[in-house]
Subunit: 520 residues, 2 copies
């Protein structure tokens, strides 16, 4: 059987491989036809050389030219939408509509165009000029970026087209994309669209490269390599922490999105007033996309009151009545069962689910757990086990103090939500709980479920460890996400003609610059 080629140094070429793999259709559990190579170090080494070479050119390339590439890529994606959506459907079992064709694909091209606009304006570089000392500084490209994409967004977080890709390229870095093994075909189509756009807009050949898979050791070798500037990773905590350890040891920046249970607190006043509507809203958010969002509400904190049992009962019925979706892969199914086993062993009570799902292919019954605050506090670490998929845990605190204690034990998360009404009691509870939750999450929400991550400059899709590796950076939101793939560069007494254009006195671009303390 012939193997799919890797994209290295501007060529779709045969891999120097150590093994092969195939993707599966999660809805049928059948292997898809195409065979993909597991790359040896030789592939990676060649890609790193080509990336280093491309970087020499790319970092001197104007933002306008980089923007042209990103826009041409977005256009290519639109022109090839049908094939992309069909391949992604086969590889992920995500619905075509409303999801792949009309939500995720437009989001992906939108991100690429926002990144293009950021590259064009140059604002992300934050240029600062100190005339008296003749020192100038700005952020600049950091060097070749390795991107490891997750399984759950075949387009929007794809290593060859998603948020990390767009941010890394817009900041002036070549990208080596490592496909997610569950959707290599989609990634290949995107890399083709990217490469074609890079050629038609005159980018250096090594601007975008693609390998499908390596063993773990080689992944670790990649992220520590001296030719690499930084790494973006979205995926499981285990694999991510192994890469983090390697990169940290070599002093190479790595930005990870690892795991998050996204606590949602519903205060008693609102729960009493709107119990049914809240049950509907929560069940909808939790089961959407079969619960396979990074911001899925995996942990709900209630304070015992008149409506607590009614809410749990209502959600249970909705979970039981809702169709069971197909999970992204056998690995997700296996991992979800494993998490359920851990939680049950730790003492959670099953409201519904945990068994085999009634849907197509890989699936697990919609699952709701509950536990008392007291029991939760006996082993908070285990209780925060992420159950990635259509599953959630409701913690019933006996009072506000216990709820505060529960939030006090939370690990870092991407999001935290608090629902409340206008009563004095809810407001007082909010004032007590919000400061605790605030320091533990990247994004604090009011009266809103965390699923749904707007591509907004005010977005923080990040948060304290172990949600990510550093609480100062966001993976979504432009221009903020570009800064991850940049280094701070100061120019001291550098002659005018040798300065980057954006720091020159006669700069005529549109970027806002801080000149002698004044923005202009």
């Amino acid at each position: 059987m012939s193997q799919e080629p890797v994209l290295v140094a501007g060529e779709w070429r045969n891999s120097d491989f150590t093994g092969t793999f195939q993707a599966e259709n999660p809805a049928t559990k059948e292997a898809l036809e195409a065979v993909y190579p597991i790359s040896s170090w030789a592939d990676c080494d060649a890609a790193l050389d080509a990336a280093a070479e491309a970087f020499e050119i790319l970092r001197e390339t104007s933002g306008d030219k980089i923007a042209e590439f990103l826009e041409a890529f977005a256009t290519n994606i639109e022109a090839r939408a049908e094939a992309l959506v069909e391949m992604a459907r086969l590889e992920t079992a995500l619905p075509v509509s409303p999801r792949l064709a009309d939500v995720e694909l437009p989001r992906t091209t939108g991100q690429l165009r926002q990144a293009a606009a950021a590259a064009r304006s140059g604002n992300w570089k934050q240029p600062v000029i100190d005339s008296a000392n003749n020192i100038r500084s700005c952020y600049s490209a950091i060097g070749p970026v390795c991107v490891f994409g997750p399984n759950n967004f075949p387009f929007a977080f794809n290593s060859a087209a998603g948020g990390d890709f767009a941010a890394a390229i817009a900041a002036g870095n070549p990208v080596i994309a490592k496909a997610n093994s569950s959707h290599p075909g989609t990634t290949k189509l995107l890399a083709e669209a990217a490469f074609d756009a890079s050629q038609s807009t005159g980018m250096p050949t090594g601007t975008i490269q693609l390998i499908y898979r390596t063993n773990h050791d080689i992944g670790g070798q990649m992220v520590t390599d001296s030719r690499v500037g930084a790494t973006g990773y979205t995926g499981s905590r285990g694999a991510g922490l192994a890469l983090k350890k390697a990169a940290d040891g070599a002093g190479k920046p790595i930005y990870l999105e690892l795991s998050s249970v996204n606590p949602v607190v519903i205060l008693p006043g609102l729960l009493e007033a709107k119990c049914d509507a809240l049950a509907e809203e929560f069940a909808g958010s939790c089961l959407m996309g079969v619960g396979q969002f990074c911001t899925n509400p995996g942990l709900v904190v209630l304070i015992k009151g008149n409506s607590t049992e009614r809410f749990i009962q209502d959600v249970t019925e909705r979970f039981e009545g809702a169709a069971v979706g197909t999970l992204l892969s056998g690995a997700v199914e296996k991992s979800l069962h494993k998490s359920h086993k851990i939680l049950k062993a730790a003492g959670v009570e099953v409201c519904c689910g945990t068994g085999e799902g009634s849907g197509n292919g890989y699936c697990v019954a919609n699952t709701l757990f509950r536990i008392s605050g007291e029991a939760y506090l006996r082993d908070p670490e285990t209780m925060q086990t992420e159950a990635f998929g259509n599953s959630s845990l409701i913690v019933v605190a006996k009072d506000l103090d216990e709820a505060a204690a529960i939030l006090g034990t939370m690990e870092g998360n991407l999001t935290g939500s608090i629902y409340s009404n206008d009563s004095d009691a809810d407001e007082a509870a909010y004032r007590k709980l919000a400061p605790i939750l605030r320091q533990k999450v990247g994004r604090l929400l009011n009266d809103k479920m965390p699923t749904g991550v707007a591509v907004s400059p005010a977005m923080n899709h990040g948060g304290p460890y172990p949600a990510t590796g550093h609480p100062g950076f966001t993976a979504v939101g432009i221009p903020g996400s570009l800064i991850r793939f940049a280094m701070l560069q100061s120019f001291d007494n550098v002659r005018p003609s040798r300065l980057p254009n954006i720091l020159q006195d006669d700069y005529s671009g549109s970027a806002q610059r801080l000149i002698d303390g004044v923005w202009s």
Copy 2:
């Protein structure tokens, strides 16, 4: 003998100690009278509790109030300048003038006042408002900060008064200062001035705390503790990397300044035209402060030409003729001898020095080494051994290509300098070498020695690993340095009255805000 007290939870109290130590006068090698405790975990644990408690208040405290504290502290330092300078002179042997009294102390109070201005304006928070999505974001305090200060700046980088302290406090975090063991008395005086100012301006009692020393394990435990937000460290590479490993493993941000040889390239055209002046400039920069600056020029790259030997000869004579200064401590003397031994074993040729110094107390003869580019390239890693002190290595490349290869092997550094004249040859050489050097340093200089770090918003006192732990942050320059001690916080649909003041619609402060894509 009675022991000096630690400052924990607003009290100067007896340490729970595991041992004691005394500082030395480096000029006489005699122990100073005061005895300081080596703190047990109990001291640290109590300080962490108090810091966590202080943080609850401090992070809700206005920038204006924090600014008042920083300014009162600066005033206290000025009022106590005489005692501070005398203590620092005893503990470091640095000259009173021109250094401690008229350079470093004013720099320190200047930094505190700049940090106060930053706290007042709030610009560092980079507030962003997206009205359509009702999402808002800004940087906010990260939590209690541990500061480990270096030996070489008893005031300006002191853990209880220097750049990291000022940045951490201005961003709204309490500080636990770990004194540098070579100047505990100076640190105590500064912590007293800080604490008194914190009391007179109504800061929470745990805002500033002081311990003098711990063993390494306890240091590692500190930086990983769940109560800690982040750590700032300036010092030796070995101790810094141990702390980095611990902090990285716990996902706690740590900002380190570790080591740097600060390469200086002098191109042949300029060397020929200005050989004597360059020798004088280089010798002055290299021997200033007995070479004990983070940005000391420890490695010079020349391209073989008519003036190469004359320059080396001239510098050698200047090194031999210059007075030998006293080093900061016996440890610095020992470490300098050790570095010299490593370099000599690797084959460098001694132009002068390496022996006992003719100065007072701890000292080593002014030392100049040389080596050919070819020999350098056989073991570039060893050749970049930092020899902290009055010592430098000149590498003579046979041509431009070899000089490029040498720069290509450089580790990350704080600074890199290129001297050139207006000739076509120098300009062409610059165009070849500068892009290589640019990616490896935080600050690129033209025609200027790297010593001298202006406290400028355009300064980058940082650089790629192993100069620091992350190339995106600066330790000097306000407001940039504050961002290290902040986390990004997004507010999604949060009710108006619950937003931080700086994100509210009726905000009346002076911070620049990005509102719906427009700065205002």
